[in-house]
Symmetry: C2
Subunit: 159 residues, 2 copies
DNA sequence: GGAGGACCTTACGTTAACGTCAGATGGTTG
DNA sequence: CAACCATCTGACGTTAACGTAAGGTCCTCC
């Protein structure tokens, strides 16, 4: 019925190609869901909000490698704490409209803002890491002293 | 009525000390709110969830420098995309119970997990930054070409 | 041919993190 | 003393990001 060989027009689990990442490989929603550890519901949710736009074969969603990459970017953005609306903007940066000049300028400016934000985030992470490592060192120190005291002193400072 | 001189037991806007960050300085909720650009409601919310525990003077919340620092940590954590529950754990790392050994070990382990997570986040930010900078360079390039073409060619490629 | 899977849509439920509003208190100021 | 802040405590409203359940379609396999 479908011209794309017999890729799961029904939602079958069988991928169209065996080569793991042929550029023409197609994915069902369940493939991506299990690969990235998210629910199909979440993926559909991203689509509802304009972050993904898979093709359809007989009602079923079919994802190309490009859509897969977009999903990866979405999940990375989430791990960085961005809201979906922000991630959508970020995705728009990735496929630029190379034709119109004003668009390009706008995209560039948004990109720079995003870069600045990420750099600030980077600073704050670095700061937090320094603090945590220092705390960790102190704790290790304290632990070592307690262990030493426990093993050396047999009995003398009761209680 | 209150022994702490006359700090806003009423919620007055007057800080107890002029020295900007005397260790004994006290803050009203409005002070911290306006200083950090968050609402008093948010600050109370953090308290309701155990992230802050200010003293009280006549019903009003009074924040020490330590509480102020904790609030800063909360907000930093938020900017890094952490949930309040996670931030609470992080705060607990900062004031360790130096007495009990098992507690120390647990804290240390939690700290290490948090460090690992931050490092992973750092990697992902670095990756995103590389990508965004590359895209930015391409866009700048495209813009330069378009501008060059526009200024040089007077008329010949109509439409 | 009927049971089982993967997928679909629609719709209501849920959690986190506050916003917003109402009504009350208490100190300060003209 | 009246008006005005800043603050307080509920309590309900809101948004984001899904979870979950219901009911239906379309293969495939025994």
């Amino acid at each position: 019925m479908v011209d794309v060989k017999d890729i799961s027009a029904s939602g079958r689990r069988v991928p169209i190609t065996d080569e793991p990442h042929d550029a023409r490989r197609l994915y069902a929603i369940g493939d991506l869901a299990s690969e990235f550890g998210v629910s199909p519901r979440a993926i559909r949710f991203y689509e509802d909000h304009g972050l993904l736009a898979p093709r359809r074969i007989g009602g079923n969603r079919v994802y190309s490698l490009r859509e897969r990459a977009r999903l990866q970017l979405i999940l990375r953005g989430k791990r960085l704490g961005f809201a979906l609306a922000d991630i959508k903007e970020l995705l728009d940066l990735y496929d630029v409209d190379r034709d119109h000049l004003e668009q390009l300028r706008a995209t560039l400016s948004k990109g720079r803002a995003r870069i600045a934000e990420l750099e600030r985030q980077q600073q704050e992470i670095a700061l937090t890491l320094r603090e945590l490592r220092e705390i960790g060192a102190h704790i290790e120190d304290t632990i070592r002293r307690k262990e030493a005291r426990r093993s050396s002193a047999g009995r003398k400072g009761a209680s």
